[in-house]
Assembly symmetry: C2
Homo-oligomer: 179 residues x 2
C-alpha cells in the first residue's frame, strides 16, 4: 500500500514544468494589481488553454499562488491571540492584492469552489474567535465570518488605502473589546 495504485501512469514531465511556470508568472502578474489570466499565460510562454487545464477556476489559481501564505495564517491562528492575528493577516494581505481573491471564498456562500485551504482557514478563524469569546475579550455578537469580512473590506473595499488600513483595523479592534 505504499503506492496508491500502480495502474496509473507517471504524471507527464511537461505538465509539471508548465504548472510551475504558470504559478511563477501568476505571482508576478498578481503583484501588479492585475488579475488578467491571459497575461499570466503569456508571461509563462504558454497557451491560455494550458492555464485553464491546470487551474480550472480563478480561485484555484489564487489558492495555489497563495498556498504558503494561507498555511502560515492557519498556523499562526493556533498560537496568536485574535488581535495579533488580525494585524498579521492585514500585514500579509497588504502587499498581495490578489490574496483577497484567495481568501474571499472562505466567506462566500456562493462559491462552488471551496478548497481544502478555504476550509482550513475557516476552521482557523473559528478557533481564534471561539477562544476570544471564551476569554470575554470580544463582543459576542460578532461572528468569525465577520472577522474575515473586515479584513477583506479594509484591504479591498472601494477606495481602500494601504496607508490607512492599520488605523482602521485598530479602531475596529478597539470596538471589538467593548462589551
Amino acid at each position: 500500500m505504499s503506492e496508491q495504485a500502480p495502474k496509473s501512469r507517471k504524471p507527464r514531465a511537461d505538465q509539471l514544468r508548465n504548472r510551475a511556470r504558470l504559478l511563477e508568472a501568476a505571482r508576478e502578474v498578481f503583484r501588479g494589481e492585475g488579475g488578467n489570466l491571459e497575461a499570466v499565460a503569456r508571461k509563462a510562454g504558454l497557451g491560455i488553454g494550458t492555464l485553464y487545464r491546470n487551474f480550472p477556476t480563478r480561485e484555484a489559481l489564487f489558492q495555489a499562488v497563495y498556498a504558503h501564505e494561507v498555511e502560515t495564517l492557519e498556523q499562526r491562528a493556533q498560537v496568536d491571540g485574535l488581535e495579533d492575528w488580525m494585524r498579521e493577516a492585514l500585514q500579509m494581505m497588504a502587499t498581495k492584492r490578489g490574496m483577497v481573491a484567495a481568501l474571499a471564498p472562505v466567506i462566500d456562500p456562493e462559491s462552488s469552489f471551496i478548497s481544502d485551504q478555504s476550509l482550513r482557514m475557516r476552521g482557523a478563524v473559528a478557533q481564534l474567535h471561539a477562544r476570544a469569546v471564551a476569554d470575554g475579550t470580544v463582543r459576542p455578537d460578532v461572528t468569525p465570518d465577520d472577522l474575515m469580512r473586515v479584513l477583506l473590506a479594509i484591504n479591498y473595499g472601494p477606495g481602500a488605502d494601504p496607508a490607512r488600513s492599520s488605523v482602521l483595523l485598530d479602531v475596529f479592534l478597539a470596538g471589538l473589546r467593548s462589551a
Copy 2:
C-alpha cells in the same frame, strides 16, 4: 440677466425626454446589482450612443441617479451627530448597491471626475468629523476620508453581507469612541 445668454437655442425636446428615460432605466437596473450600461440603454429603448452623450462617464450617470440621496446625506450632516449620520448613510446605501459608485469618487484621488456633489459630500463629512473631534467623541487619528472608506467597505467590500453590516458599523463606532 434672467437668461444666461440669448444667443443659444432652446434645448431640444427629445434630448430632455431621453435623458429622463435613461435616468429612469438606470434607477431600475442599478437596483438589481448590475452596472451594465448597455442594459440601461436597452431598457430605456434608446441607443447606447445616446446614453454616452448624456452621461459621458459611468460616474456621471451614478451621480445623476443618486443626486437626491447625496443631497439628503449632505443636509443630514448639518444636523446629525456622527454616529447617527453614519447609520443613516449605511441604511441608505444598503438597498442601493450602485450608490457606492456615486460615493467612491469622494475619496478617490485618481478620479478625474469630481462632481459638484462629490465636493459637497466631502465638505459634509469633513464638517461632521470636525464637530466630533471638537467634542472629543472621536479618536483624533481617524480622518474624514476614513469614515467614507469604512462605509463603502462595509457595504461593498468582498463578501459584504447586508445582514451583518450594521453590526460591523456598531463595532467600528464603538472603537471610534475610545480615546
